[in-house]
Symmetry: C2
Subunit: 403 residues, 2 copies
């Protein structure tokens, strides 16, 4: 048993895991009309798919996440996957019961095909010749991965933020393949303010001379621009209240103001650290492409000809929609709008606004209320899926078609 | 009569104006301990100081404002001063009754001494050798200007945002020289979130290689960094609601998404335009110094040993405090905290939270409610000042000291 496998009140770890790769040799034609081939997808799975294939849960990561959602890699430092508090034996996404899948999005930089991948046409990294993608493109690739894994229908698709957009897209694009869906801290379309923050972050990257029009892989990378972009994003992930609790006006390593442009305040030092740390792990072009995909996402325009109610008319999933009181990036009114549109279609919807001071990031932090909600919802979904299958078997038997 | 002098429902224009200069040859020792000499101050005045010197109003501009608060410059395009809607005959700051003064802050780049000024020690622009300033330093220079203009006591000090910080500083630093004060849309200290936004904006400037450690005046200026800094600030001046009204997800000059990194949405195009326009008129180093001064501002620490109530114990002014519902940069709770501290000192305080969707910028926009509040408050202040003078004269007469 690995030294990493420990259990606590929140459940146990899935232990050592490995990143796998799925290659879609024929690739796909993405929304802008270009063909991208081959397409690689980095993914991980936790738990075991049952014989009936009814226990699969697809976890969709947020903007800068990756396929490493739970457990530990061998030989690396002991930082667990990004949603390890949620995935594992005895945790809400209980790997003793469910088969959990997480893949890196198309356009990302953590193993899946993205702007840093080699363009087969040139033998060099795509850079800004990579096609601009949509959330729909990401979801289409994920569907191919599920085909490959033998998962016909998901018990649940779950994710927060940009991951929540993918959840919504899944439930509308492939209604027959999603039994239930948990969009967390997300929206059906970015507000002007959310687009504005992303655009300024992109401008920070593109203003860095080392960005070099997107073709920088053979030279120095646009680290300064990417760090600023990350800092901007980071402020939107927190809240006025959480920043006051965490930093207030406390000074960093000094007893008085510096009267220079060093970091006087802890919050400044924190942001600089976050910016610099991000540069080590993330590709600037991926940041551009993924924020653009998030800005383009517009469920009502894409699927409802401008009407959100019409968009959800396609959906068949049972939903658990969750927002957080202090999330000002995707405020509760946006979740309420989607809940209303779902209800107008007679869909089975649970909605909860969770009281939490931590801003948008709340969905990633330990939260008992969220654990209970998600765990309870998934158990109900298991039972309902079982009932549905029993009904179908009985109906088929009554019609003389059983076996 | 100038062609620019036109009257409307909001009152008339002050017409053609000129920027003047006041030079403080001996300069001053600023808060960090360095001496800055000489110090130039660009200023404008509108209306006439009365014989008793009781009708002077000092207007304090916000972060990137200037001394040109009202009227028009000769021979330039017809854009009026930044608060022309508020200052003029028949307007709330009625120049038929009041003598209105506005000066560019120390550290600015619109005529007053700042980092782009020549350092007499080297004969070259200061750049980042300019001392880091405080709001208190700015106010001390303004006091010298008032001495020069023969104004012993202000009928009122008025300003919004960083201008409001100067109003507060005036009322506490020079209690005997401020009969009344109108701090608008402001705070007694920046929240961690406000510092965070300023810090990211500063990082955007300092990440621009053309910033060159602050010494760029002989070469290309850090325009890309400054534009990004301005865009960040601009988002914080608006609100989620106002951005939705103004832009929502409307596309710019196109009927569909571009699938490239041009500005797809109007809000993107607007921000790029605002960023680029700003670079033409503002100096990047001034942006660094002025945001730092705003971040350093902390009335309770400076004047109350950590207690806001103790800080206002020094004050003698009558206050009109105003906040705006959708201002999330300096939210109403911050105005309420200062009102509470003023009241605990038995000060005469009026407080109003104005319902307005326009975010922090609301104080600069036409607003009948604000006009009425400010106009009414100033009239009351005139009467009260008159009463106070009458009381003093009577008291002096009763004691046989009259004349």
């Amino acid at each position: 048993m690995s030294e990493y496998v420990h259990a606590d009140a929140r459940g146990a770890s899935v232990g050592l895991v490995e990143r796998r790769e799925f290659v879609l040799e024929q690739g796909l034609e993405v929304a802008c009309g270009l063909r991208l081939a081959p397409v690689s997808v980095a993914y991980e799975t936790y738990g075991t798919l049952n014989r009936d294939g009814t226990n699969a849960i697809l976890v969709l990561h947020a903007l800068t996440g990756d396929s490493h959602a739970a457990g530990y890699y061998a030989g690396e430092d002991a930082k667990p996957g990004w949603w390890d508090i949620m995935i594992g034996p005895g945790k809400p996404l209980d790997t003793d019961r469910y088969f959990v899948i997480c893949s890196n999005v198309l356009g990302g930089c953590m193993g899946s095909t993205g702007p840093a991948s080699i363009d087969p046409q040139t033998g060099k990294p795509f850079g800004s010749d990579f096609p601009v993608l949509t959330i729909g493109d990401m979801v289409r690739v994920q569907r191919r991965l599920l085909d490959h894994l033998g998962v016909d229908r998901l018990l649940c698709a779950v994710g927060g933020s940009v991951g929540g957009m993918q959840v919504l897209e899944w439930s509308v694009r492939y209604p027959d393949r999603v039994f239930s869906a948990i969009p967390l801290a997300t929206t059906t379309k970015h507000s002007a303010q959310a687009i504005a923050f992303n655009e300024v972050a992109r401008q920070a990257i593109m203003a860095d001379p080392q960005w070099n029009g997107g073709h920088y892989y053979e030279g120095a990378r646009p680290g300064h621009g990417l760090a600023v972009a990350r800092m901007i994003g980071h402020i939107t992930y927190l809240s006025d209240e959480s920043m006051r609790h965490k930093f207030d006006r406390r000074l960093q390593d000094r007893c008085d103001l510096s009267f220079n442009f060093e970091a006087d305040f802890q919050v400044e030092s924190y942001l600089r650290y976050q910016g610099n740390k991000f540069v080590e792990r993330f590709d600037a072009n991926s940041f551009l492409y993924l924020t653009k995909a998030a800005d383009y996402f517009n469920l009502e325009k894409e699927w409802g000809n401008g009407s959100l109610v019409a968009a959800f008319a396609r959906a068949r999933a049972r939903y658990l929609v969750t927002s957080f009181t202090s999330d000002w990036l995707y405020p509760t009114y946006q979740s309420k709008a989607m809940v209303q549109a779902m209800k107008k279609n007679g869909l089975d919807v649970s909605f909860c606004e969770i009281e939490a001071p931590w801003g948008h990031d709340a969905f990633l932090l330990p939260n008992e209320r969220l654990d209970t909600l998600m765990g309870g919802f998934l158990e109900r979904m298991e039972r309902e899926l079982e009932k549905e299958r029993a009904r179908k078997t009985t109906a088929a038997g009554a019609n003389g078609h059983a076996l």
